[in-house]
Point group: C2
Chain length 138, copies 2
DNA sequence: AGTCAGATGCAAATGCTTCTCAATCTTGAT
DNA sequence: ATCAAGATTGAGAAGCATTTGCATCTGACT
């Protein structure tokens, strides 16, 4: 029989790679995460589900998923990348400088302006990154 | 007598730090640079003016200048930071994915939209980063 | 000139990420 | 179910860019 599962391992099969315990654990962590965990956090959480997961595998899997477009890598603060699933609609980030919290937002108007600017310079945007580093307004 | 010099060592004096040969060389490199050099490039170029400059000093000086707001650090590709003087007007970057070239641009409208978005979320923008990763339009 | 905290060079040390390789699984076929 | 073959993994070594410890210089003020 076939699981009516929405995505967990379906993602992997779609990639044409093997469905391993470790990869499922990592994918699970990413699905559960509401924050933007670092590789280290992902390792810790994945090990709760499968203690055998190693650091190397976390990095290998994240790299694989990133290349596949399933995961997005962010370099907010320069002290280690932070990851998130890229399944939802594209969005940008607002980073709270005091708490490190990350708020997602999206602005069609900004995206449009970006495209116009690139076009004027003779370019097509492949992807972009917009990050607002903020503090709570008084 | 006092030099009528515009900025080279004036910058340093303003910081209240010592004016050293090495710092002047690094500052000179940054002034001359039209690209966005990496620490390694800065070291190489600075050594043309003063062979005694060391890697450690380049990093230390860049960190100091960054903290002072004189230099801006960019992490475009994740493979090493790229630096530029922060004296001119604020601008964002368009990175050519094929050549690595960096084009600077500025959009008051985008900045305004950013501020509005942050405000709606209850934040004040401390600084932001907007990078467009592009390829030449056909 | 003399003094001394700040600055530098060198090399060792970090911290994150990637790679090496033998051992172990997943998968498609039997 | 069982197998073979190749993909995948764990552990640790290796890489890189960047930082740091420390003994030695040197800029700046007296």
């Amino acid at each position: 029989m076939t699981k009516a599962d929405p995505t967990p391992e379906t993602d992997l099969r779609a990639e044409g790679v093997r469905v391993t315990r470790q990869r499922l654990a990592i994918l699970h962590v990413l699905r559960e995460a509401s924050d933007h965990p670092r590789a280290e956090d992902i390792l810790t959480r994945a090990r709760q589900q499968d203690p055998s997961v190693s650091q190397a595998t976390v990095y290998r899997t994240l790299a694989m998923l990133e290349k596949a477009g399933t995961v997005q890598r962010n370099d907010f603060d320069g002290a280690g990348a932070r990851f998130e699933l890229a399944d939802r609609q594209h969005h940008d980030h607002l980073i709270d400088l005091d708490t490190g919290a990350v708020v997602e937002f999206h602005s069609a108007r900004i995206e449009q302006l970006q495209a116009e600017i690139a076009a004027e310079l003779g370019y097509d945007i492949e992807w972009h990154r917009l990050e607002l580093y903020c503090r709570k307004a008084p």
